[in-house]
Symmetry: C2
Subunit: 188 residues, 2 copies
């Protein structure tokens, strides 16, 4: 395998093992072994588990930030929430193991909390979902959508391709937030 391929495979295997054993229950050695590498080979790519986690989290949080910016550019609170819902559902369906680790692993929660850029991304996403209902009700709705999509992505929906899972998540999320499906646009 090329260096870039090995690095990518390390990341994929790590996400899988983090989902199976939690981050705290997964050592760099377990990840190397799952790939048939020697114990020390992984250190060529990542010196610590947090360095590996950084390589995993940074791209997905950057992608989320782009989706948030697109949503925030919509004209109404309903359009902003709906755009965010569709983007987050697609992200969750395409990154089923990773979204669940991102949403619920305590070690990841702590890393996100400590990095201002990442925690502001999560707060902005939450705010878009929460804006449709005043007060704490909106925040509870937002928390249900964010954790609920992550939990459903981890669920046993292998039979659904990414688009089908996304559509199911969007339909349920719209109900949770009290959003109606937008009217069909002519030509669709």
């Amino acid at each position: 395998m090329s260096e870039a391929t090995t690095r990518q495979r390390l990341i994929e295997v790590a996400i899988e093992l983090f989902g199976e054993h939690s981050v705290a229950g997964t050592s760099l050695q377990m990840i190397s072994e799952a790939l048939g590498l020697t114990k020390s080979a992984i250190y060529h790519y990542f010196r610590t588990r947090d360095e590996l986690l950084d390589a995993i989290l940074d791209p997905v949080l950057a992608e989320l930030a782009v989706l948030i910016a697109e949503a925030e550019a919509q004209r109404t609170a309903r359009a902003r929430a709906d755009r965010m819902l569709i983007g987050y559902a697609a992200l969750a369906a395409a990154n089923r193991n990773l979204i669940s680790v991102l949403s619920s692993d305590p070690h990841v929660t702590e890393l996100v909390r400590r990095r201002a850029e990442w925690s502001s991304t999560v707060t902005r996403q939450m705010r878009l979902f929460a804006a449709l209902e005043p007060g704490v009700g909106g925040q509870v709705n937002a928390a249900i959508v964010m954790s609920g999509f992550a939990g459903a992505a981890r669920g046993e929906f292998e039979a659904l391709d990414d688009d089908a899972l996304r559509d199911q998540l969007v339909a349920a999320g719209r109900r949770t937030l009290g959003l109606r499906a937008p009217r069909a646009v002519s030509g669709r």
Copy 2:
């Protein structure tokens, strides 16, 4: 402290640390230290982490099984789902850290999967929520409610007392499942 009090405090501290560090990231030693006990004192109460987990999970899964039986005794699928929703929301609000560990910690998921009684409890709960929409849509709704309530319970809702959080969860969960609030009963 009496033996019973110490045992109960061990359980409470363990649930808190499991939520903060995941089960895999929490040793029996960390739990004893958090209580100011010596390293070996905890072994008087629990010989392994799984024995301690058993003492934590068994009561909450037994309580869930009672709620499920009450829900299953209702006459219609809508009444069954609604009763389950109210029961699960109350359980989540009263056990905020524990429900989140139960719902998303990979070590706990594996313990539940391996014990037939526990995994049948979770399956029955899922079925009650899923029954309102045919096919995979119902299952996605159920997964969102189950993980979403757990995620919201872990959220920053300290300002809400248990009844207030329960009511917010029920309102959102009814929308997710497409349930209307039942008509007010006279005298309420």
